[in-house]
Symmetry: C2
Subunit: 385 residues, 2 copies
């Protein structure tokens, strides 16, 4: 096991009707800005629950944060924070709203051009407005970590930053609020969480038995509960298990002290930025081909994954690895998330342009060994057609 | 899954030579009291490492905190905190030192008779001196939770309290410092952690799949690594896995949203208080008999435990449950921790006195259903002879 530092101070309020309890988590005199996305929280009653919990407080609203939140939109919120003297942010939504709110939190207190936060990956953020979360879509894990991904629509750049100052103070996770999500969003969330886990697990062994078993337990749970979430949208237990998996998938716990391989996310980000594919769709397209290309370097962990996660016990090493990769792809397809570029009307003709973007973003040495070069990325995109 | 609140803000610094980094976790101007136990940290160099990390700071020492820390001893430290205007506590040791330091932290800022903290189980603690931890013995999980067990030697009372104000701000976990532990202490630590996990897992199902799989993963890891820790005391990987298991066993994670059964600890505490047995010895004595007596109420989870933790797949339900309980007992014995009262020279003649103490401490409705009455506790002690 490698050395690590783990610090996850976000207070989790999990379960039925927990939104009412957020009142106790925000200082009484705070000037609170509620941030949200396209307005589904108005239709499903979540925004009403939030307002009821904050009755009598100083509350403002900023809606319209889009999927893959845009820098340009978020800067409007920063202006509102300054004008209204906001001192607490409450993100009500999924990963895009939470990520966007993290950027607002950092940018509002930042000296200089806020885009510099992205260019320095958050390293010079020294403070931020405190924020809380009401999660409506289990997927990205952003509710309990310090990362965020932001897109600049003018250039198509999709970059991430990290800072402990934007770690949410609290997060409310009520599985009931996910009942009304469209199947596509639930499926995307399950695939996103699944890939987060794989990216921290499927590298090479460092004898980190707790982290491995936690990762395997989360993957098994998603495999069991993901399809049920589509079939039984109001099954509380299923939604609760998925919601908790997604948070645990990316709060630092399973990634502590182990090598990581975020190449699937990096290659996927360029597909979203250039072609507008859903984030999870890009992951489902890229991951099986990363595993195929790197099967030798990932040999030992792929065999462990085959055995412990998929119960694949027969056949040669190579056959069991193939079966595990096939099972991964089949799981994504079972969730309704297609796994080929051609499924989305893409023929691979933009691969050179995608590689240019990877180079521009300095994504030229990806993977746990830093050996996924631009040429290997080309092979991965090519195999994904 | 039941509703839960989970808040574990303790920052973990895990790995080789992390003690040096505690310098950055304590405010530069703090007046720090280092608390410790019998002095092994002087012999193995840990105290020197701590002093080196705090070179140039205001540092004081309080040694002599005993196993099952005594109220009377801790009150001497409270006096020292007042006299020396201490404003940061650094516990360097195992569970007893950490628990004792939590009590010092709360008692030093407490208005009224500090024993009242124990009688009210910490409910009226409203502040405490901040504290950090350098863990030397993986076992109790106290380094990342808000609980502590204190003994009043004058009366033999062993009580616990809990307060978020005594949650350590940080904990340094360097597996290397455990190399020199006596085998008995490592064995006790593994058994203690194992029983913590079982007490949060072996109740009845609430479809909490993540918590179940995390618990099973920790149990499997202890089963694999516990005996190796005795055979290969300087195997870093083994010590690292055990250390991380013990912390994860009782930091709230696997117990979030699930029923719990702390009867083994409660019955064990009385054995330690009356007869001076090691804490883990009492757990090894009590647990198998709790599982036997409550096998009907725990039926479903016992079968899951048999299958997933012990790979027991054949035989009738009752045979598989017997095999799982037998395997649990055999594991404790394999670790060198005996599982019968008679192994410790006890014949059961003090059972009436133990029951009197349970009654005095209001431990008359234990277990996940509150149905372990004094009569059932008598049966458990009786079966453990």
């Amino acid at each position: 096991m490698e050395n690590f530092v783990l610090h996850t101070p976000t207070k989790i309020l999990f379960g039925r009707d927990q939104i009412a309890n957020l009142r106790d988590e925000i200082p009484p005199q705070a000037r609170v800005l509620i941030t949200y996305g396209g307005g589904s929280i108005k239709r499903n009653g979540v925004l009403d629950q939030v307002h009821a919990a904050l009755h009598g407080r100083h509350v403002f609203e900023f809606g319209g944060i889009e999927p893959n939140p845009h820098y340009e939109t978020l800067m409007q919120a920063v202006e509102m924070v300054h004008n209204e003297k906001i001192d607490y942010l409450l993100a009500v939504g999924g990963g895009s709203v939470i990520d966007g709110t993290k950027f607002i939190a950092a940018a509002a207190d930042y000296v200089g051009d806020p885009w510099h936060i992205m260019e320095t990956v958050g390293s010079d953020v020294t403070r931020a407005i405190p924020m809380g979360v009401v999660l409506t879509l289990p997927a990205t894990g952003s509710e309990m970590n310090m990362g965020a991904v932001i897109t600049r629509s003018a250039t198509g750049d999709k970059l991430h930053f990290m800072s402990p100052f934007v770690m949410p103070r609290f997060a409310v996770l009520d599985p009931q609020v996910t009942y009304t999500l469209p199947p596509r969003q639930i499926a995307n969330g399950v695939v996103d969480a699944f890939v987060h886990i794989v990216e921290q697990y499927l590298t090479y062994p460092v004898d980190a038995r707790v982290q491995d078993r936690f990762a395997e337990g989360l993957l098994q749970t998603l495999i069991e509960e993901g399809p049920r979430a589509l079939q039984e949208p109001e099954n509380y237990g299923v939604r609760a298990n998925i919601m908790w998996c997604a948070t645990m998938a990316l709060n630092g716990l399973i990634g502590a002290g182990v090598p990581q391989d975020w190449s699937t996310h990096m290659l996927g980000h360029e597909l979203t930025a250039m072609h507008g594919l859903d984030h999870a769709q890009t992951l489902a397209i890229v991951l099986p081909n990363v595993l195929q290309l790197k099967r030798d370097k990932k040999h030992t962990k792929l065999l462990q994954y085959a055995e412990r996660v998929w119960n694949i016990h027969s056949g040669s090493d190579e056959q069991r690895i193939d079966a595990a990769i096939d099972a991964t792809r089949a799981f994504f397809e079972q969730m309704g998330v297609k796994t080929r570029l051609s499924d989305y009307g893409l023929d691979g003709s933009t691969i050179p342009a995608l590689l240019d973007k990877l180079q521009e973003h300095r994504m030229t040495a990806l993977g746990e060994h830093g050996d996924i070069t631009l040429e290997q990325s080309r092979q991965i995109y090519h195999a994904a057609r």
